[in-house]
Amino acid sequence: MSTALDTDVRPEDRFISAFEVNHGQALNGTNASIAQQREDAIERFSALGIPTNSLEAWKYTDISKIIDRPYALPLAPEVPSVDPSDIAPFTIDDMDAHRVVLVNGRVDPSLSDLGDLPSGVVVSSLTQAGDAHPDIVEAHYGQYADFEDEALTALNTAFVQDGAFVYVPSGTVVEKPIFFLHVTAGQEDLFLQPRHLFVVEDGAIARIVEAQHSLTDAHTFTNTVTETFVGERANLEHYLVQDEGPNASQVHTRAGQQKDDSVYSTNTVTFSGEVVRNNANIEADGSFCESNLYGLCIGKEDMHVDNHTQMNHVQPDCNSNELYKHVLNDESTAVFNGKVLVTRGSQRIDAYQQNDTIVLTHDANIYTKPELEIYADDVVCSHGATTGQVDEEGVFYLRSRGLSERRARILMLQAFCDEVLSEYKIDALRNHITEKIRQRFANYFS
């Protein structure tokens, strides 16, 4: 069932022919509307083509070369056998969570530990959800991740197979975090397209943690699409930890929609990857919404991380906060492209956006493009961006208090990251990330 991608033809065509070869047998697909959507999506993908630098949204990130490798494109990926000891380094044991492990985008029950979920809450694979809760899946699937202008979202939609699914019914509180550990494994160069759907209904409260790791040295390209729905007065915290190693590339698209009086927070941290492109899109489709977008990128070697955010204010009386920070070492490159859109009539919006970068070496690069697009007059919108080095005044102050210069610099870097880390509401997760960052910084300046 696996189609190796032929590299002699246009990369788009390889995907299109793979789609045709597997036509009809793809997906859990008996659902007519999803099947139709797949047809529309492949057509759209064909028309859009793989994005190049000439597109404004991809100005600083070129995935065309990386996507042009002879990946295997498994439609129903075989799940290689993974031993619990393989994933032990990634399980964040201090975090008491409902844990689900996905290997190559498929839920592996033997590695998962769901524990006791509150009544009515569903945590499963998307395929299972399609069987067991078709009404919920149909109501939300494909509603938020628009593929009209996004070729990779179209591609994911065309090939959609499986992924993670969460449903929190109205008024339900899930106290423990729901933790999805995504690992890639196997010897083959893989092209994966997981699709996740998280539905948090009115008044429900939940925390979802996702971590991405790799058990293989093979090249992988993961094209993830996650759709999120946050109902009225609901609260969803959504964390993403990316650390797949130097051979893994990905385009990770999250599209969230929230309703009146809800709070939706995303927090992304990237530790490694070859080329990582994150699209975090939130539409505040209700009044008095609060939306938060936080991110950290700890750049090393020649990794390239592009955080692209789109905050759409389409209803009045909402506020949004956005803070992304980068610490760039070696030859790493970071891109931040944050856009705040306030549509006509969306009055009394308070939108704030900030991107700060510390560049440590001559070979590291930062491209930042914070954008405001405002069509309503009664708003307070601002953005800021800084790039620079560690504050020398601060270093001097610490040294005058007896710290070595190296320690002083490391401390200053940690302090720089703290502003984002303080937004982690799960202590065990915050400690875990803080420790990872501490380890990374430990050999800096030596």
């Binding site: 560049v359 690069n365 309503a376």
Partner: protein, 487 residues
């Protein structure tokens, strides 16, 4: 915004464009269209040397290819129909004369035109301390105070004259900062440019007066394609200002200028613009000037400085990014801008600061004001190259919205390839606060006075950069713009 304020502003007539008249003079226009013959005709009428004709022809072949290949510029936040390049007449000059030797030769109608615009060309009437080059359509009408400037060795004349009189300087610099291949409109300009100003300030000389060029589009169906070149030798200083107006016309007129500045070691060029081209009909958006201009300065020498200040109130569409290439070590680039759009106006404007030398510094202060159904975008790039150690940039971009139907956008691009760079960018979008208006009312100020005061305050950081002689004019222009600007 309170109701009474809105009513007040609505009540104000909005077709207040003061400079919308047309002067009836007999002219000779080049046939419509962009052909090699037209380029040769322009060069011939202007009595140009061979090398300049050849330069034009090279540019012509380049731009013809680009136009024929269907090139468009679609990345800006602008919505307008691309100019029909083959329906424009690229040259318009008073019959018989493509240049004037002295003021005595200039027809009275033209002198009166400039008098009406507040630009008297007889030196005794002129603003002291300001030398003016007046350009109507394709021709430089007169340049004042030429003799006085000559004493100091400052050359200030029309581009055409300069090409004939100082070919060695013009040849050395023209096209070096904005090559004809730079962009579609720069390429077009390079092929068909009409007139413009040339300034040369010799080593160590501080230009004794403000230099100013006043551009006027008069004829229908023409465009304005002027070209300005300013060279400041080591240690020189010059302050230059351009002003622009055009008659009210139903069709769109194209203005595609190129401005090149070169500052050598320790030199400083201060370039100010008050742009008030006809903005089109405020209710229908019909007509108005397309102001698509390429302006760039090169801080060539160490310790040089180039400063752009602009007040953009006119034009149906404005797209310009006055930029500075900071090549010399310790060089400084500045950009101060107020862009006011109302009615159906659209502006996509900003700057590019390219840090190449070491210890270079740039400052960007941009104030955008948008009213009615206008759209106003700031687009700016700060780029720090690999070897540009210790580059510093500060950018502040503020937008003010007057009314619920307009738009204000900010698109900064920050690219840093050097760890020692310090770049700070801030942007805000807001409206005039009800509490601010009430505070002013409580102190006895009416709607109009209060609004003018607050908007002028919003622009103050930029307006204070204008040469004193023009700051008053700028403030008045802004006041006129504000009358009837909110619906």
């Amino acid at each position: 915004m309170s109701t009474s304020e809105t009513e007040y502003l609505k009540g104000k007539a909005s077709e207040d464009y003061k400079h919308g008249f047309y002067t009836d003079i007999e002219t000779e226009k080049a046939p419509k269209g962009l052909t090699e013959d037209v380029v040769r005709y322009i060069s011939h009428r202007k009595d140009e040397p061979e090398w300049l004709l050849n330069w034009r022809l090279k540019a012509f072949r380049h731009v013809r290819d680009r136009i024929d290949s269907g090139e468009t510029i679609d990345w800006a936040h602008l919505d307008y129909e691309a100019p029909k390049f083959d329906e424009i007449s690229y040259f318009s000059a008073p019959k018989d004369k493509a240049s004037y030797d002295s003021l005595d030769d200039v027809p009275d109608e033209i002198l009166e035109t400039f008098e009406r615009l507040g630009i008297p060309l007889e030196e005794q009437k002129a603003l002291t301390g300001v030398a003016v080059d007046a350009v109507m359509d394709s021709v430089s009408v007169a340049t004042t105070f030429k003799e006085k400037l000559k004493e100091k060795g400052v050359i200030f004349k029309s581009f055409g004259e300069a090409a004939r009189d100082h070919p060695e300087i013009v040849r050395e610099y023209m096209g070096t900062v904005v090559p004809y291949t730079d962009n579609l409109y720069a390429a077009l300009n390079s092929a068909v440019f009409s007139d413009g100003s040339f300034v040369y300030v010799p080593e160590g000389v501080t230009c004794p007066m403000e230099l100013s060029t006043y551009f006027r589009i008069n004829e229908a169906g023409t465009g304005q394609f002027e070209r300005t070149l300013i060279v400041a030798e080591p240690g020189a200083y010059v302050s230059y200002l351009e002003g622009c107006t055009a008659p009210m016309r139903k069709e769109n007129q194209l203005h595609a200028a190129v401005v090149e500045l070169i500052a050598h070691e320790d030199a400083e060029i201060k370039y100010s613009t008050i742009q008030n081209w006809y903005p089109g009909d405020p209710d229908t958006g019909e007509g108005g000037v397309y102001n698509l201009v390429t302006k760039r300065g090169l801080c060539k020498g160490d310790n040089s400085k180039i400063s752009w200040t602009q007040l953009e109130t006119g034009s149906a569409v404005t797209q310009k990014y006055p930029s500075v290439i900071l090549a010399g070590d310790d060089s400084v680039g500045e950009f101060y801008s107020v862009a006011f759009t109302k009615g159906h106006q659209q502006a996509d404007t900003g700057t590019k600061m390219q840090h190449i030398g070491k210890n270079t510094k740039s400052t960007i202060i941009s104030k955008g004001i948008s009213a009615d159904v206008a759209d106003n975008s700031y687009r700016g790039q700060v780029k720090v190259s690999k070897n540009a150690d210790n580059a510093r940039n500060f950018s502040q971009c503020d937008s003010m919205l007057l009314g619920p139907d307009c738009g204000a956008h900010t698109y900064p691009y920050i690219e840093s390839n050097n760890p020692t760079a310090q770049i700070e960018h801030e942007a805000t979008t807001s409206k005039v606060g009800d509490d601010q208006m009430f505070y002013c009312h409580q102190r006895g100020l009416g709607e109009e006075e209060a609004l003018k005061l607050i908007v002028n305050g919003f622009c103050q950081e930029v307006l204070q950069e204008l040469p004193m002689e023009f700051a008053v004019e700028a403030k008045e222009l802004l006041d006129i713009e504000l009358e009837g600007s909110v619906g």
